[in-house]
């Protein structure tokens, strides 16, 4: 599924690149990654496969708070992190989990994941519960709140100060939902762009990670010297 999407997106990118000069856009002086990034589908133009419109509004808003645009370095929206999340959830994420019952929802934290949900159910149910809480508390959905209030809501989720059970969600704890979403957002920010996030390898460029170069024989013994080259991606793009 993901594979098909990738091939078609790749084809789209390639054919667009070829078409660029014809459109009067010059790619001279641009790295391939910068050129690819220029014509990569924008977040606004992306129609999610897994998320509904309401869920998509939540996810893009939450990503914007998890990794905001302000300050140094690219944010989650600029790097298409929500696209990554959507593609993972539309794909096989979670198919590896052992989900046979019985389930002990009161299990000690050291015994790890013990709920009867796939990640897909975590997002569906978690977003519903958060939006219900936001409507009750702030009279609007999460996505419609201002940034300061959104941060406040996320802090409450992280501290499990929002009781999902009051909104019909008996299984999932606010904190578990928060952790799941934050972890996936960070993964999307830092994973190879082939998965839809880290657009233009911008996160890698910002932190100084060379991506898939994977050959450092002549570098390993040069101690305390900043590595001079930018990243490459699995697709062979250079940043």
């Amino acid at each position: 599924m993901l594979l098909n999407k990738q091939t078609s997106r790749r084809k789209f990118l390639l054919s667009s690149l070829i078409a660029l000069p014809a459109l009067g856009v010059t790619i001279k002086g641009l790295t391939a990654a910068a050129a690819a990034e220029m014509i990569a589908p924008s977040l606004e133009g992306y129609s999610p496969t897994f998320f509904s419109a309401a869920e998509w509004a939540f996810i893009t808003a939450a990503c914007d708070r998890f990794i905001p645009a302000n300050g140094r370095g690219p944010g989650a929206l600029e790097t298409n992190v929500p696209v990554f999340m959507d593609q993972q959830l539309a794909g096989d994420l979670g198919s590896e989990i052992y989900l046979e019952g019985p389930f002990d929802l009161k299990a000690p934290a050291e015994l790890g994941y013990q709920i009867p949900y796939t990640p897909q159910e975590i997002y569906r149910n978690g977003i519903k519960a958060v939006d219900a809480w936001c409507k009750q508390t702030h009279r609007d959905t999460f996505a419609a709140l201002d940034a300061a209030t959104q941060n406040d809501v996320l802090k409450k989720l992280q501290a499990s100060e929002v009781n999902f059970a009051e909104f019909g969600e008996e299984v999932l704890k606010a904190k578990a939902f928060f952790n799941e979403a934050l972890a996936l957002a960070k993964q999307g920010y830092l994973a190879d762009p082939i998965y839809g996030g880290n657009k233009g390898m911008k996160a890698w460029i910002a932190i100084g990670f060379p991506g898939a170069r994977a050959s450092y024989l002549e570098w390993v013994a040069q101690h305390n010297v900043k590595y001079p080259l930018g990243p490459v991606s699995l697709n062979g793009d250079r940043g």
């Binding site: 140094r72 050291e110 010297v225």
Partner: protein
């Protein structure tokens, strides 16, 4: 009931990872017809050509080439009185699947235990006053001498092209190596890997404090190597994708690079993939096995007749298959009778991360085994008897991968928002870690058996682990913490953050430690306390051999695979030289 029966073979090998591939080639070289059954996919070096493995999300996060918990889960509980729950996602350990097994994506630190580790019980009885160690501790000696096993350790070093500094050559201590290692008959096959910045800093500070650091012994080879099977392993290019990743450069000794090429050329060897072995079938008298039953990819149940059965499916798989097949008496911790399941042990880790604003560690430029370690805190080499605990640790600064997902940030850095984003930019590549990996004793109440509730997709009960941290292991952690933090202070970082077990910690299955699970079907001198004899032969069913970490009576501080490889080769030799001539128990009970 099987609906297909295969042609009979001399030897069926269950699992084609490290132990399975070694057993296969050794027994095929003796002219036997050998067939390996592997539950996962076929995997060749070419499947992992550049740039495929350079993908943290697929291999490091999603465990693309590991068995899924769905197919391979276990259940876990902290004590006999609680209900075990399944490992629904992997955390503390991540077992492999497919040709190569965990050997395809291991880190490649190939270090031997010490002669004292091999005879730990004897050492404890001599060095510790009665009553010092916990009453329920059940440690044992390995049933062989250092001198007997050394040639096999040596052979496995050569199979892997072990790279590092020799510490003890036939009793002579060598500069730059581990002075605490047991005498080796030959120097390391290849020189050590190049040090990264963290290695040099750690080694210098450790030396200053009186310790004896040496480069991590590495099966990621430093120079081109042709091994005794004629396989070629290429010099490591420090690609930075190693632990959990298949090698993109033919540089990591694995079943693929070190064994399979030669093995596949042998006409008397073949293998089936997607063949999940469900059970060893015994003859009606229960004294010998007649073959194994497996499920193939099309849902067939296939019977594979064989004269010899080798269980090589990894520690807990081997114990589980013995329990499912009725090989040996299951262990009962209450009466302390039975042997299959006893002496399960694991290991603990911990460490301190040091942050340096002005230093560039380039953590992505590294081999899996890259690091320096010292062995000063190993049994017999520090004052355990007066401190009141036993066991040891490797204290090391390693740099297994430099991939960015999961980067550690200084204390106080927010875990999301602008602070996290900028923290990543400020600190990625500006930290190093000083770590411990410890041994772990075995105890009366730590064991494995079949879970009463949870089943796998083939309807068979999962293996249940009963395990938790004991006072001995927790005290050892506290002691190591002081040593690590002294070294950290010597290095004067801008800040540091530590993670060690505290005295009230319980075993946490959510955070990766290592896939070094041991025990459950241990080797020993007596069928009363061990499932296997010194040749890894079942005491009860003499044509079943069970190589793997399952044979360890407790865990030592060294990584396990050097000894796992050696006991496998030792067992293969005994099959070739003794068992074939006269099939029957190789040791009289």
């Amino acid at each position: 009931m099987a609906n297909i029966t295969n042609d009979e073979v001399d030897v069926v090998v269950v699992g084609l990872g490290w132990t399975g591939s070694l057993m296969s080639i050794e027994l095929a070289q003796a002219g036997l017809k050998v067939r390996a059954l592997e539950r996962g996919e076929d995997r060749n070096n070419a499947d992992f050509a550049y740039p495929k493995p350079a993908d943290q999300y697929a291999y490091g996060v999603r465990n693309k080439i590991m068995v899924t918990p769905k197919d391979g889960a276990l259940t876990v509980r902290h004590n006999m009185h609680s209900t075990a729950l399944p490992t629904r996602k992997w955390g503390a350990f991540v077992p492999g699947t497919g040709v190569g097994g965990s050997g395809l994506h291991w880190t490649g630190v190939l270090i031997r235990p010490t002669p004292t580790d091999i005879k730990l019980k004897t050492y404890a009885d001599q060095a510790y006053k009665p009553g010092i160690l916990q009453e329920d501790m059940r440690i044992g000696d390995f049933p062989f001498t250092w001198e007997e096993m050394e040639p096999y350790l040596d052979k496995f070093d050569k199979i892997c092209g072990l790279s590092g500094n020799t510490g003890n050559l036939r009793g002579e201590i060598q500069e730059g190596g581990d002075p605490f290692e047991g005498p080796r008959s030959n120097p390391y096959p290849l020189p050590a890997l190049k040090d990264t910045l963290n290695c040099s800093m750690f080694a210098e500070a450790a030396r200053k404090l009186g310790y004896h650091p040496f480069p991590n012994p590495s099966a990621n080879v430093s120079q081109a190597w042709t091994n005794p099977y004629g396989n070629q392993i290429a010099p490591c290019n420090y690609c930075g994708y190693c632990s959990k990743y298949p090698c993109l450069n033919y540089s990591k000794a694995s079943p693929q690079t070190a064994v399979m090429d030669a093995l596949k050329r042998m006409d008397n060897f073949d293998y089936r993939v997607n063949a999940n072995v469900l059970k060893v079938e015994l003859h009606p008298d229960g004294k010998t096995a007649r073959g194994v039953t497996y499920a193939d990819a099309d849902g067939n149940i296939v019977f594979q007749p064989a004269k010899i059965v080798v269980l090589a499916g990894f520690q807990f798989v081997n114990v589980r298959l013995m329990l499912l097949s009725g090989i040996g008496k299951p262990y009962d911790p209450i009466t302390e009778t039975g042997v299959v399941g006893r002496n399960y042990a694991y290991l603990s880790n911990g460490g301190t991360t040091l942050f340096f604003k002005d230093k560039h560690f380039n953590p992505f430029a590294t081999a899996g085994a890259t690091g320096q370690m010292f062995n000063d805190v190993s049994p017999g080499n520090y004052d355990g008897p007066s401190l009141g605990f036993i066991g040891g640790a490797k204290i090391h600064s390693s740099q297994a991968t430099g991939t960015p997902i999961g980067t550690a940030l200084p204390k106080g850095t927010p875990d999301w928002g602008q602070g996290w984003k900028e923290g990543m930019q400020d600190w990625y590549g500006h930290s190093m870690k000083i770590s411990i990996s410890t041994g772990c004793m075995s105890y009366r109440g730590h064991y494995v058996d079949l879970d009463p509730t949870y089943k796998d997709p083939w309807g068979q009960p999962l293996l249940r682990i009963t395990f938790d941290w004991k006072e001995n292991e927790l005290k050892l952690q506290q002691y190591l913490r002081t040593i690590v933090n002294n070294i950290a202070q010597e290095l004067s970082p801008d800040s540091y953050s530590e993670s060690f077990l505290s005295m009230d910690s319980h075993w946490d299955i959510t955070k990766y430690v290592s896939t070094h699970n041991v025990g459950g079907a241990v080797m020993g001198e007596s069928p009363e306390t061990s499932a296997l004899n010194r040749y890894l032969q079942s005491w009860d069913v003499h044509n079943v051999f069970v190589p793997g970490g399952n044979a360890f009576p407790q865990n030592f501080q060294a990584n396990p695979t050097a000894l796992i490889g050696a006991i496998t080769l030792f067992s293969a030799q005994a099959i070739k030289e003794q068992y074939l001539k006269n099939p029957g128990p190789l040791v009289q009970a």
